[in-house]
Subunit: 567 residues, 2 copies
């Protein structure tokens, strides 16, 4: 080894940066590798902050340590990884000509210059703030940095806050709301748009909202924050666009992030149309010696081919690993793109998604799609199966699965991971209806929820089932539309719970003998459902077989009905 | 509707048969559909028997009822499905010329003849028995029919048996052993071959065996049953091939099944080389008017293209549904094949598999494969992550994933389902290393276990990591081979547990400063490991970087070591 070791500088010390550095080290024991990190900590598991804030665990070090329990501080990076990690140091400028990075040691203000052969930008993102008066009052927080987590945890431990408002009904908003609930602080979540959790179609989002309202959490949609209200510099409440004032001592803002691209931009690197640093499939910026990864970049959607921002921890690590390889062996690794896959625990629900929702697909101009919404158990009733509600989206022409949303108290995580892999494999509904999955009663139904979703979608694609959404049925009921609504459950079930939208009860088992009770006009719209709409679907097949031509199944049945019920 | 309704007869009334019948009904409300079922019950969830026997639930009806709680008896089939289900009736002959089935009503012996346009054979399988003396003693059971489940449940409830022997170390053997454990009956599992759970490679099977031995269950391998011993017609013990006698009052035989093909065979239908009824991708037998599905058929392996028998409940349902469609619309549906995916709860472990094990791949002549075994957590330590141990198998030339085994107290079910879908999609290791999965701390590590398995396998495929199996290391240690064994954990961890195979301890973080303590012969074999072999792998990269040329990582680390340890 007589050649000079390669000099690598990595800006950003949380997920993507350290991953790139660590992988580069494994690729080349002799490279000189330096991480520049603005904050005091390194390798923070940001995704764990809500659980620390909520008291799920108490040892802060758990957020920054290895599985073996070793804290990833500069000493660890030096000893275990052979990486020089400079904390409390900010990269303030990149000089691409001289290949140097100017750094500022934040405690002292000392400026230094680091030379690089290859540079990595992994500067992450910054939380957005609504541009409204009062944003500088004490009591307004975000949950983005470990410092933020420390502050919110201290607030939890101090036990002084009576009421909190969360601005933003996305993943992090809900996680924070649950954390504060665990801390005994009731919250109100404020969402400016008409629906929470933008990756869900609205009728599914409503089901989550209903679930959350069962806890000490309220949700207000279609209403943004007009101002933060305060006294003596301290937050006392939040005023909404419609004038409502919500008293609170704590507000947590979680309305999304914007990529930290200032450093890249001032170095003249290309910024993409979505506002992130532009990179190719090697995660290389417009300067071939500079790579970028994580929340600060744009990547490719494997579904649409478009450039998108996808600020997720798994992707930051995946991309960082690709960078680490290319730093040492240029062009040796690619990051093909993402499938928009994510998940979140929201109280007793798991809410997951992969690919595109129907709404998102249509926004993107993919209008020739078909969807199926189903309810069902994750495992058999005799094994204490829990409910799942899902919506699968496919391209009508090719049958290719484009998206899947899955939520409920049941094991949604497994189903979303399964379909994420199917989407990565560009599989079609026809592939999924026959999938050989791991079946045993503790783990699934004989035909797993994912397979049933695909089978129902297949039925719709083949015209064997005509579906109607809960939203459309609600509208029919409200406008007094001329349709016949049929509940196909048993009288006992009907007694326990029912929609009360003018429905008639004829149990599936009695239907063939009671066809005379149905509208004799064979073109009249008939809407059927049951608890999950399996029996509704079977009843629809019976009616179609007897000549009714306008028979629709209310997809997902009563379990997917997010509106008030009679009982 | 003036044409005669089609006449469909289905032989077999458990999974595949009723599924075909129910689907045909949905496809054609006017078809005449009859199920002929030998047993008293219909639509039995056989896979639930072990949980009923073990007392996980007490209501037998749960095994034969819908999610809405309605028992699937002949009345249900008539009313809800419009299907005539004749129980306690055996199909004794098929006349393909006249298209009739001869049936025998078992209680009365009455013979009747049913005409069909299309026939379905879904006769399932019969449990095998070892051909040894004493097999007719009272106290020897199988767990295959609901009647068997009733008997074993009665034995549990009577609380008389002190000790049981289970013949056969496959899925059902282990499920029964757990059921009997729950019933307070200690068991010994006898497996004739050298390893339990044939879908697992032996070193992983050993880990399961170790886990099981922590309960009131013993396992004996490489030793078959020579005779059942008895007194006055009643079982008193089991004698093994090696002469050992195990006293017991109960023996449960679970050594596999053979397809019920007698009816098909005597009707002159083709039987495949594997002993199952031969069908094409439409599930059509050699007579185009006769379909077959479920445990009685052979189907295609999507991995090898070979015909295989795959007696699984999910497949019976999938195949039955394909048959149901083709009964009404010939050629409208196909069953492409299976990916050998299954799962089992074994005490506190989940044990799952998809595709081929390394051993099976080699048996099939797929020798140019690479494997990676890893240990790791399913979710972060701060969320109480549990251990998983996995082995991924890929084709070396194409990188295509051929198989995945996953086991442990962690959530293996999700990982197996995920990889099953990847295998269905013919994805490669390169696809998996960048998969966008649903990540949040309650559900996975930032890089899910599946991704890590693929990344380690990629490292091996690219020659970046050289692995050595625990079995090979054990052998090295036993033969006193000339190699240097390095444990890279901390002294504290070493104090708590260690292999004691002549290893040296140098913690990863100290390694770069202690290279002088390593063998100076750069070609000497050095074997590294840690708890899971992540640090072992990092240490290997360091040594390689410093010129050692024969550096191997013991895959899966101490957690995958199934042999006795020093501590
Ligand atoms: C509360 C919370 C929960 C989350 N939950 C999930 C989840 O469940 N699942 C999921 O997939 N994702 C989740 N995420 C997102 C995930 O944490 C991020 O996608 C991931 O951290 C991005 O990693 P990164 O390295 O790109 O950026 P960051 O983690 O933001 O790290 C960038 C680092 O660079 C430093 N830096 C920036 N500029 C400079 C500079 N000029 N000089 C020196 N240092 C600099 C920053 O201080 C920061 O430490 C969550 C995020 C938060 C905040
Ligand atoms: C204890 C146990 C646990 C299991 N666990 C799992 C698991 O976890 N996962 C999994 O995937 N699979 C599991 N299986 C396998 C699964 O149950 C079978 O694959 C499935 O039942 C096969 O369905 P089938 O309809 O083909 O056959 P069967 O279920 O065997 O049904 C065939 C029916 O046909 C009847 N019959 C046969 N011949 C005639 C005739 N001539 N006339 C009339 N009737 C006839 C039989 O009496 C029987 O009721 C398990 C099986 C058992 C026994
Ligand atoms: C941890 C971190 C520094 C990356 O360092 P790293 O060394 O790449 O990560 P790990 O210590 O997990 O080691 C992973 C390596 O070990 C390998 N490995 C993991 N388990 C293994 C096993 N059982 N056997 C062999 N190798 C194994 C992996 O394949 C990987 O190597 P590769 O990339 O060369 O293939 C970086 O990911 C980080 O800072 N993470 C924390 C912050 C974070 O991720 N936040 C966002 C989400 S909350
Ligand atoms: C139950 C059994 C009789 C099959 O009857 P079935 O009517 O096909 O089954 P189900 O009642 O579950 O209904 C499934 C149908 O409803 C549809 N469906 C399920 N959930 C739905 C929902 N929420 N909305 C709309 N449709 C739904 C399915 O797609 C399927 O219809 P399709 O095949 O036309 O696509 C048969 O599988 C059986 O006997 N099973 C028990 C035994 C067994 O499986 N043993 C082995 C494993 S233990
Ligand atoms: Ca993801
Ligand atoms: Ca299976």
């Amino acid at each position: 080894m007589t050649s000079q070791p390669i000099k690598i500088v990595v800006v950003g010390g949380s997920a993507a940066g350290p991953k790139a550095a660590a992988k580069a080290r494994r690729m080349d024991e002799h490279a000189s590798i330096t991480i520049i990190q603005k904050e005091a900590d390194l390798s923070m598991a940001s995704c764990g902050y809500p659980y620390y804030v909520g008291g799920v665990f108490d040892d802060r070090n758990q957020l920054i340590c290895t599985s073996a329990g070793i804290v990833r501080d500069p000493n660890f990076f030096e000893k275990a990884k052979g990486i020089d990690a400079k904390v409390l140091t900010e990269a303030v400028a990149i000089d691409r000509e001289s290949r140097t990075v100017t750094c500022k040691h934040l405690p002292t203000g000392a400026i230094s210059t680091l030379a690089y052969d290859k540079l990595v930008i992994a500067t992450g993102a910054t939380p957005l703030y609504p541009p409204v008066p009062g944003a500088d009052l004490a009591g307004i927080h975000t949950l983005h940095s470990l410092g933020d987590a420390d502050s919110l945890r201290a607030i939890r431990d101090a036990n002084q806050v009576q009421r909190a408002v969360i601005v933003g009904g996305g993943l992090i908003g809900f996680e924070v709301s649950e954390a504060l609930h665990l801390a005994g602080i009731p919250t109100t979540i404020i969402e400016k748009t008409s629906s929470i959790l933008p990756f869900l179609d609205p009728e599914l989002a409503k089901l989550v909202a209903n679930h959350v309202r069962g806890f000490t959490t309220d949700i207000i949609t279609g209403n943004g924050v007009a101002a933060f209200l305060g006294e003596a510099g301290t937050l006392t409440g939040v005023k909404l666009d419609n004038g409502t004032e919500l008293p609170c001592q704590l507000a947590v803002v979680a309305v999304g992030v914007r990529p930290n691209v200032a450093l890249a931009k001032s170095a003249g690197l290309d910024i993409g149309a979505q506002g992130g640093i532009a990179v190719n499939e090697f995660m290389q910026t417009s300067d071939p010696d500079i790579y970028a990864a994580g929340d600060c970049v744009e990547c490719t959607s494997l579904i649409t081919g478009d450039k998108v921002r996808a600020p997720y921890g798994d992707l930051a690590n995946l991309q960082g690993r690709v960078v680490g390889q290319n730093l040492i062996q240029e062009g040796s690794a690619t990051f093909p793109g993402i499938t928009h896959t994510g998940i979140c625990k929201i109280f007793d629900y798991t809410v997951g998604f992969t690919g595109l929702s129907a709404g998102r697909a249509r926004e993107l101009g993919l209008t020739d799609i078909e969807t199926a919404t189903i309810s069902g158990l994750d495992i058999p009733p005799y094994m204490q199966g829990k409910l799942l509600i899902s919506k699968m989206v496919a391209d009508r022409k090719t049958g290719r699965v484009l998206g899947f949303q899955c939520l409920g108290p049941g094991d949604a995580s497994k189903r979303v991971a399964t379909v994420a892999m199917a989407i990565l494999g560009k599989l079609t509904v026809a592939d999924l209806v026959n999938a050989d999955l791991p079946y045993a009663p503790p783990y699934s139904l004989a035909l797993d929820h994912v397979i049933t979703a695909a089978q129902v979608l297949e039925n719709k694609l083949l015209g064997r089932m005509q579906g109607i959404s809960v939203a459309e049925v609600k509208q029919r009921a409200e406008t007094g539309a001329d349709c016949f609504i049929l509940d196909t459950r048993t009288p006992l079930e009907f007694e326990e719970v029912r929609l009360g939208i003018g429905e008639t009860l004829i149990p599936l088992g009695a239907l063939r003998g009671r066809l005379a009770e149905l509208p004799q006009d064979r073109d009249k719209e008939i809407i059927l459902y049951c608890r999950v709409s399996l029996r509704g679907y079977e009843a629809a097949a019976i009616l179609q077989g007897h000549g009714w031509r306008n028979v629709k199944v209310m997809e997902g049945g009563i379990m997917a009905w997010p509106y008030p019920r009679e009982k």
